[in-house]
């Protein structure tokens, strides 16, 4: 079945064939028959066609809507209602046809999926207009997305799944920008949970495909945005802790579930790693530890408490994931990076206890303690990443460690009342560090 194999693996295998023949592991006849077996793989590169078919379906859908909008006013309510349903019925008939007859064609599946989802939106909005149904944009998005997600599964469309996650983020932004009483963003997590099984199916089918990686990345980025909204809504001061947890989960998942055979990191692990670095730098500012919210159970709504529970999930998952790998003695991750949620938790608790009413410590001193801990942690993280970069001969990773240290240094320069001379010397020191480390790295690489 050349259609379902991993193209990258095939390319690698083909590259290996001359060596294998030279080493006598296989005969040249074997090599030739392997070549023949995979001959069709490269020519079946149909992703471009899939995109074109999808765009085509979207355009047809839009065209139908425009045709309908023309002379709309002269039609009776009943006629308008019937017309609103026609594109949807047509799309559904096409989906049934594809499921029965064209189930193996990816282009067909992606195209009818887009058509069906667009026709559904058309039907709902035309009926709403005809019958003067009032509703907000987020009500519309919510019902539309819930009715669309089964299509992603039925037609196995990864492109559709990505669009779905983007749609969930659009829904979130529409809600978030609302002034006045903030609305609960918790429903976003239900949207996200609905697409996770599909991600797992993709992963099991082909873990090295770029589509799986892209979907995983979109899910990770959407989670980061949504956690911001959730923390904002929960008003619990748990944001630092929760973000450290989420970034660590992303980093660990990237390393554990999308491992690469070479020394490089998967894109997901890179996002997580950068995320941990950013969180560490942000938390090294004293203002990040001013805990403004008086925690008062009585004044909290149920959705706010759900949001709080969601915030707690990520650090717990991070600790379980890293703990499990450590116990199995197969941890490939940086222990310093994976410790971010633990460090954040301990610091958070310290600052919270320090801030407790009736204490004798000034709030400013409490937040100073929190910031000090994270200054040390960020420095440690930078050194650790630098060390791992040098160890694995990765210039990118080593430089990321340096960037982290430099960012920390700069944050402190602008944060504190240092004289210009001290700041200047600091910059020179950091710059020299970059130069020396890179010279050493390139030398090491040249001799290796």
């Amino acid at each position: 079945m050349p259609g379902t194999v991993n193209r990258r693996a095939v390319r690698w295998l083909r590259g290996q064939l001359p060596e294998l023949v030279a080493a006598g592991a296989i005969s040249s006849e074997n090599a030739a028959s392997i070549e023949r077996h995979y001959a069709s793989v490269e020519t079946r590169s149909n992703f471009g066609f899939v995109i074109l078919a999808t765009v085509g379906a979207a355009l047809v859908g839009a065209g139908i809507i425009l045709l309908i909008a023309h002379n709309w006013n002269d039609l009776s309510r009943a006629a308008r209602t019937i017309i609103a349903f026609i594109p949807l019925l047509l799309a559904q008939a096409l989906v049934a046809f594809v499921l029965l007859r064209r189930n193996d064609s990816r282009a067909w599946r992606e195209a009818v999926a887009v058509f069906d989802v667009a026709a559904l939106a058309t039907a709902i909005s035309l009926v709403s207009q005809t019958y003067q149904v009032q509703g907000t944009f987020d009500d519309f998005m919510r019902i539309w997305m819930i009715l669309s997600i089964p299509i992603v599964y039925l037609l196995r469309t990864t492109l559709g799944a990505i669009v779905y996650v983007v749609g969930a983020v659009v829904w979130l932004f529409d809600l978030w920008s609302f002034f006045g009483t903030p609305e609960s963003p918790n429903f976003f997590w239900i949207f996200l949970l609905l697409v996770i099984p599909y991600l797992l199916i993709c992963y099991r089918r082909n873990r090295e495909s770029s589509e799986t990686a892209a979907l995983a990345m979109v899910v990770a980025l959407a989670s980061i945005i949504a956690l911001g909204a959730t923390a904002d809504f929960a008003k619990s001061d748990l944001g630092p802790f929760s973000f450290a947890g989420l970034m660590t989960v992303i980093y660990l998942c990237g390393l554990r579930f999308l491992p690469r055979t070479d020394q490089r990191l998967s894109a997901l692990a890179i996002i997580g790693g950068i995320g941990i670095g950013v969180v560490a730098i942000v938390l090294s500012f004293q203002s990040a530890w001013h805990m403004g919210h008086d925690f008062n159970w009585a004044g909290r709504s149920f959705p706010q408490n759900v949001a709080l529970a969601i915030e707690l999930i990520f650090p717990i998952v991070a600790v379980v994931l890293s703990g499990w790998d450590l116990m199995q003695r197969r941890a490939r991750f940086s222990i310093v990076a994976a410790a971010a949620p633990v460090v954040a938790a301990v610091t958070w608790a310290t600052v919270k206890i320090c801030n407790a009413p009736g204490g004798h410590v000034l709030p400013a001193d409490c937040s100073f303690v929190g910031a000090a801990v994270f200054n040390i942690y960020a420095l440690w993280l930078g050194i650790d990443i630098l060390g791992r970069g040098i160890g694995s001969n990765s210039i990118a990773r080593a430089n990321f460690g340096l960037v982290l240290i430099a960012a920390l240094a700069m944050a402190r320069f602008f944060d504190s009342d240092l004289s210009f001379v001290t700041r200047g010397l600091g910059f020179i020191l950091v710059g020299a560090g970059f130069l020396v480390a890179n010279v050493l790295l390139f030398k090491q690489r040249a001799t290796a």
Binding site: A69, W72, N73, T81, A84, F85, L88, L89, Q92, V95, A96, L99, L100, N103, D116, L120, A123, I124, V127, S128, Q129, T130, Y131, Q132, V133, Q134, I143, L147, P150, I151, L154
Partner: protein
Amino acid sequence: MKQIRLIVFILVALAQLAVPASVVWKRSQTLAHGRVWKFKTEPVDPVDAIRGRYIALRFAAEKAKPTPEPDVAALISPLFVTLKEDAEGFAQVDQITNDRISGDNVIQVENGYWSDGWQRVRFPFDKLWVAEKIAPQAEQAYRENSRRGKENAYVTVRVRNGDAALEELYIDNQPLADYLRAQAAKK
């Protein structure tokens, strides 16, 4: 496997059809059997007025003087109001309550603010969808006929068991489409 997939799809397809179909069913019942109420329109904040293909509506009755006077602090959206007709036959808010009541004179509203014995509410029909072709004229006609000194526009709303369906916008006692046609003929 194929069969299961098809059965699941049939269920999904039915759900996709059911959502708009249920709206059609409920609204056509309300429009056919609901009680007719007339709501006098008010001027709209011009910034708010037109958003694409609908006209934003404001109503005189949204400024309510309920009897008996409710406990304002306890009012939380959604609220339910009962309607009554004034001397000219236009709808007015009679009572406001948090309790979920039903009837052909009950509509669900959003809470506004309390000021000087008046309670502001928002009716659930503040947009009138119009065809793109007539939207600018419709908007202009509405604005000209619902400003202070020339209040000449109202909408009819059908209410049935708490469901309120916006039926028609009347300008100068003519349905919007007829009024626009008459205006165009005059020119």
